[in-house]
Symmetry: C2
Subunit: 165 residues, 2 copies
Amino acid sequence: MAEEVQNGAGADNGSKAAAVVFAAVKPWLVVEAPKGNDAVQFYKAAFGAEEVSRVNHPKRKAEQELPLVLSAELKLGSSTIVVSDLTDDDSAPVKSAVTGSVFCLETEDVEAAVAKAVAAGAVSEGEISEGEGACCGGRVGKVKDPYGNVWLICSPSKKCGDVAA
Amino acid sequence: MAEEVQNGAGADNGSKAAAVVFAAVKPWLVVEAPKGNDAVQFYKAAFGAEEVSRVNHPKRKAEQELPLVLSAELKLGSSTIVVSDLTDDDSAPVKSAVTGSVFCLETEDVEAAVAKAVAAGAVSEGEISEGEGACCGGRVGKVKDPYGNVWLICSPSKKCGDVAA
């Protein structure tokens, strides 16, 4: 488990935290590298998902033929899911997650949302930082709920184009 | 792993399967019993989720004070998440899942959707059956994708009221 950080906005921020609004939940499916692209193809074939955007892992482009997926955003009905290869690179927003699913919550006020979750019993993991890739176009905080689920609390994602090599 | 069933609608159903449409993805959070109610309260407090409906486990009402949650449906932004206590009762739609998350996909044509997923490489688990509770108001099929994630493919859920004891 990463170091626990009680963000400064904690206890004295109740009134602000009460106004936290989330847009939606985005399930994030982290698969063992380099199967991320296979997984994207599978969700297209199996469930008719549409790929909205993809960010490949920048360091791998020159190293190997198959670039690793940092995050691929797929539309599935009215929902969005995100698929990533699991890597231990610093730029990966889910680097400390085991393979499994992570839930993204987008909100305009990341600090207040993290503070509210921590006040309710979640554990903040790491510091709020600048994210990268789908679901994490801006600032991102990470909390683990008391039941073992990881929630990324992000500012709304930028509408990035497909930057695949 | 449950027995694998290649549903009869498989290979010869490509044209029908191509029309499969899903409404949305509902993440299903399965927590160790009897913490389901705690988890619901946590998601309300931490993320402002609104409880839309709840179905308690019918057998437990007389046995113990705290009824187990068969499924509680929570609205979180434009998304819906479902929370359940993990039980091994036959009526639980996720009885063979380990604690973790399951993704629900609602569609009008469960058979075609399962067939399409299996044709794409998913493994069908168990037979399509009548479900119960949120996300599974009607027929439900279950497939595991090649990356270990469980997807419940359900006919649209009934709008059931709160039947808690």
